[in-house]
Amino acid sequence: MTFAELLSTVFENLGRRKGRVTLTAMGVVIGTASVVVLVSLGIGLQRSTTEQMGAIGSLTQIQVYPGSGDSGPGMVVMKSAGGGSVSVSNVPSDQKLLTDVALRELAELPGVTAVIPQEYAQGGGMFSFEGLEGWGNTVGIGVKDMSVLGLTAEAGTLELSHGTAVIGHYVPRNFFDPRQRMGQEQPEPPDLLGKQLTQTLEKWTDDGSGGGESTRKMLQFRVVGIIAESGGEYDYSIHIPLADVTAINEWALGRRISRAKEGYSSAIVQVADVNQALDITAQITEMGYQAYTPQQFIQGLNSVFLIIQAVFGGIGAISLLVAAIGIANTMTMAILERTREIGLLKAIGATNQDVLSIFLGEAAGIGFIGGLGGVLIGWLGGQIINVLLMAYMVGQATEGGGPPPSMTIYTPLWLSVFSLVFATLVGLLSGLYPAMRAATLVPVTALKYE
């Protein structure tokens, strides 16, 4: 028999026993649907998490900190956004520092497109603007144009120059009215573009006898740009030129800072290709620095999600296994009922191969029909759960004021195709034993069977 002939024979035969085929296929439908829904849930979880992860930092950036040396984690400079106190740790002599020379070394690594030193302002105090008060990290960026970092401007420019600042998307939200009483509505976040911010810096001068006095200094920045929401740290920071931060820190420390000797507290290494990030991170670590890329985290997370998907898929597969036994049962029963038919087919010239193909085909057909139904119902079920979940989460989000929900059940095409093929294979396998029994029946015995 040709394959087309076999197919039409199989579906004719299945069509002859619609009731039983439907009932048997139902088991496969449920099995396949649960595989599809559960794995889709796993994939959806992974996708939404990875999306949020991607927001933590660009995947082509590596954060580099000075090496820890041999004396454990070396804390070079404690950044303190609000407190104003400054602490400098003992710097071990053998520590790899992010000096200008070191930065050049990093820049020479193949695949690296830019190395941008970063420094947090110390003694950073409160910001004020037209009677409002706000907080934010003041970060010095060692590059003129912040778009090198893969950022885009929401308003204004990303170019830094002396006395100007580029602020993150959420910085205006951190401004509030200090005279506001409890329960009163806070004003709308101010539009800060083009406006002058005043920062009050504070330092504590130790007089050596436990006492001391605090000194204050006022600083002014003009906001020249607002960064579009990046989902990362940039959203909450106020960025000024590196030289301005150095000036602030020199004031806070009360001494000159030599970058050649002390280095920077951190640097961003920008790489050309996402796929190189892990490799280059490893190289930088080898060189003695501390290097981090969000990819490391994503990698770990991916393996966790792989396990989640395997467990979910396994649970679904159990119901598919039960369905497989159902198919085997139906096919075995069919052979008992159709023994005479098998005998006749052989009498009129069907080979063992023909009979085997027909019965295997029927079992696979039940698997295919069930798989098709299962994929459809699984996909539909996922969509329904999505809609319900979204409605619920949107409700939660508006109550709590959190970010908009992004967790969804996602059924990729490959999962649908895979499930369909898998269900068909399950049918085929469950039909193997019954089909082989049917094929090897002695024709005359089969014909005489009552």
């Binding site: 028999m1 040709t2 002939e5 039409s8 024979t9 002859r16 005479r340 038919e341 005998g343 006749l344 087919l345 052989k346 009498a347 009129i348 010239g349 069907a350 080979t351 063992n352 191969q353 023909d354 002695v442 024709p443 005359v444 014909l447």
Partner: protein, 246 residues
């Protein structure tokens, strides 16, 4: 003397039925001439159907040789035997063995499916065959919508599907009323006249009217007509005595 169409030599067939060994054939030698109409007569359990099944390649002998043309049936593998059944043999059964869910024309076309005949061609051929057995107007009826005689005629048409040289009929009139049975017998006779070799197993003596060769079988052995009549007569006598005793 021409070589026979089929030659069976020293055929033995033993069945194992629930631990008991049944000797169905006990050394049968038989020739079937090409173009003959052979009738194999015997009471039930005599092994006549077993003989037909062996000749049709539905079963294998325990011992002995079956030669059809150049083929040694007892030596053929499963596949070759299936092809022999497909090409050389047309079966007609006592219980018709039509597939109840298929129409008459589909039943007739079924053997051609395994012979790789295209769907269209086999449909046309099946209609022709149904016309030949006088059932052109019943082509799209299901077996349950046909009388026993009509069903058997569909089966006759089916046996001709792959144009076989050998037609084997196992008690073809056993389930039919007299007139239907007679029409089937005439049909088989026509097949014989058209050049096919026909072998019919029956215990209906009227079949012999069409036969060119009649073989009698009792207890798995070929016997002469005289011996056959003698055994039947003695059996009748025994039964008569039993009846008297009751």
């Amino acid at each position: 003397m021409p070589t026979p169409f089929a030659r069976m030599t020293g055929l033995f067939k033993t069945y194992n039925l629930g631990g008991a060994t049944i000797q169905a054939l006990n050394g049968v030698d038989m020739d079937i001439e090409a173009g003959s109409f052979s009738v194999i007569m015997g009471p039930s359990g005599s092994g006549k159907s077993t003989l037909l099944h062996l000749l049709g390649g539905l079963d294998r002998p325990t011992n002995g040789r079956i030669e059809v043309g150049a083929q040694m049936l007892d030596k053929l593998d499963e596949n070759a035997l299936a092809i022999y059944r497909r090409k050389t043999v047309g079966f007609i059964f006592q219980s018709f063995n039509l597939l109840p869910t298929m129409t008459a024309v589909d039943n007739v076309a079924l053997p051609m499916r395994f012979a790789r005949v295209s769907r269209r061609e086999r449909h046309e051929q099946a209609l022709k065959l149904l016309d030949k057995v006088g059932l052109a107007d019943r082509a799209y009826h299901k077996p349950t919508q046909l009388s026993g005689g009509q069903q058997q005629r569909v089966a006759v048409a089916r046996s001709l599907a792959n144009d076989p040289q050998l037609i084997l009929a196992d008690e073809p009139t056993g389930n039919l009323d007299l007139s239907s049975g007679a029409s089937i017998m005439r049909l088989l006779s026509e097949l014989h006249k058209s050049g096919r070799t026909v072998v019919v197993v029956t215990h209906d003596a009227r079949m012999t009217r069409y036969a060119t060769q009649t073989v009698h079988i009792i207890d798995g052995q070929v016997v002469t007509e005289a011996e056959y009549e003698a055994v039947l007569a003695s059996l009748d006598e025994e039964m008569g005595e039993e009846e008297e005793e009751q």
